[in-house]
Amino acid sequence: MSPVLQAEGLSKRYGRRLALSDCTLAIPPGRVVGLVGPNGAGKTTLLHIAVGLLRPTAGRIEVLGGQPASGAAQLAKVGFVAQDTPTYAGLSIADHLRFGAHTNPGWDQQVADDRITTLGLDPSQKAGKLSGGQRAQLALTLAIAKRPDLLILDEPVARLDPLARREFLQGLMAYIADHGAGVILSSHLVSDLERVCDYLIVLVASRVRVAGEVDDLLAGHCRLTGARRDPADLPKGVEVIEGSHTDRQSTLIVRSTTPIDDPSFTVEQITLEDLVLAYMAQAATGAVRTAALETQR
C-alpha cells in the first residue's frame, strides 16, 4: 500500500537557520501518527510543508501520491488544523460552515451539523467568543466535514484544558473509526499522544531521530540495568541511545534488533515517554559534542 506521506532528504532553511534537515519518512496508511519533539524542533515546519503552506528548500515530499497544495483535488484530500486553531473572529460558526461548504466540493453538511449539535455549540455564536476548546472543535469540524483522506493537526490539544482535550480526542477517534482516514498529530508532550498513536516520529533539532510503528519501537527498545559497563562492550546489533553511569552501575536505553540474553543485565520494558526522552537526550549530547569539537578547533 502506498504511503500517505513520503519524504526524501527534506530540508527547509530560513537564512542561516535550518528548520528541517534531511528528513526521510515513509508513513504507512491507516495509522494515527504522532509527531513528537520539543518546541522549535521543526514539527510545524514539516506539517506546513506537507499541506503546502511552505516550500522546502531541498528534498522531495509526496502526500497521498501528489504534491502538496498542487490543485483543488490535492487540497480536498488533506484536512489541516493549524496551531492555535485559527478562525475568523467576526464570523459565526454557521458562517464558517458555509465557507467550508462553498469552498469544498466534497463537503458533507450532515457530518458538520451533527458534530456541531453533538458538541452543543450555538451556530450563530461568533467564533471570537468561543472558548479555546470550542474553537478547536470548530476547526476540527471544518477539517473533517470536507471528508479528507488525511488529517493533519498541529499541536491541537496544547492549549486545551484536560476535559476539552479528552473531548477533542474522542471526537477525532470517533471520526477515524467511521471513516478510516489517516491522521498526523503533533505535540511536544508524548502523554498527549500515547493513547491514540500507533506510529511515532521523533523530531529533535530539525532531524528525524526515529520513526516506526509504536509496537515495533517498544519491542525494539529496552532499558538495561547492571554493573558499570563501557557501552562499546555490548554485543553487535545493540545500539545505545542514552546511557547514564554511576561508579558502580550503568543504566542504558538501547535499541536492539535481537532479544538481549545477557544475564548480567536486567532487561526492562520502557514506556513511549522514556523512549522519546532518550532520543531527545541523544540529540542534546550530539549537539554538545559537536559544539565541543568546534571549540576545540
Binding site: 491507516g30 495509522r31 494515527v32 479528552r166 480526542l169 474522542q170 471526537g171 477525532l172 477517534m173 470517533a174 477515524i176 473509526a177 467511521d178 500515547e194 493513547r195 491514540v196 498513536c197 500507533d198 520494558q269
Partner: protein, 129 residues
C-alpha cells in the same frame, strides 16, 4: 452494554486491558452469551484511544473463542464464563494449595513465590487461552 476504561499507569498494553475487562465482565455475569460488545466507534468516542487498538482486542477475543464478529451487525459474545469458572474453582484451589506447599518445602520464601508466580502469570495470552 459494558463500558471500558484505561489505566495509563498500569504498564499493561491498552488492548490487553480491554481484553481483561471483557473477560472480567463475562466472569461477573455482566456479559452473557448473545450480548453485543460496544462498537469500535462507541468505544473510542468514550475512551479516546486508537480504533485499531479496539479492533486488535476484539480480534484476540475472537481467536480465544469468546466472541464472534458479524459483519455489518456487530461483535457478540458467544460463551459464558461464569458457571465454567465457578465449577473449576474448587479443584483449582486444591491444586494451588498443593503447589504452594511444595514451593515452601523447596525453601522459597513469600517474595520468591510471588515473583515466580507473577513472572509466569504475565506470559502472553495465547499460551493461557
Amino acid at each position: 452494554m459494558i463500558e471500558f476504561h484505561l489505566d495509563g499507569r498500569s504498564g499493561v498494553a491498552p488492548y490487553m486491558q480491554l481484553i481483561q475487562q471483557v473477560r472480567q465482565a463475562m466472569r461477573l455475569g455482566l456479559l452473557t452469551e448473545g450480548d453485543q460488545l460496544p462498537t469500535v466507534k462507541d468505544v473510542v468516542a468514550k475512551v479516546a484511544i486508537n480504533p485499531n487498538t479496539v479492533l486488535k482486542a476484539y480480534r484476540e477475543l475472537e481467536y480465544a473463542g469468546l466472541v464472534a464478529a458479524r459483519p455489518g451487525v456487530g461483535t457478540f459474545v458467544i460463551r459464558t464464563l461464569t458457571d465454567e469458572s465457578l465449577a473449576a474453582h474448587g479443584p483449582l484451589r486444591e491444586e494451588l494449595r498443593g503447589w504452594l506447599a511444595r514451593a515452601r518445602a523447596a525453601g522459597l520464601d513469600s517474595e520468591s513465590i510471588e515473583a515466580l508466580f507473577v513472572t509466569t502469570f504475565r506470559t502472553p495470552i495465547e499460551e493461557t487461552a
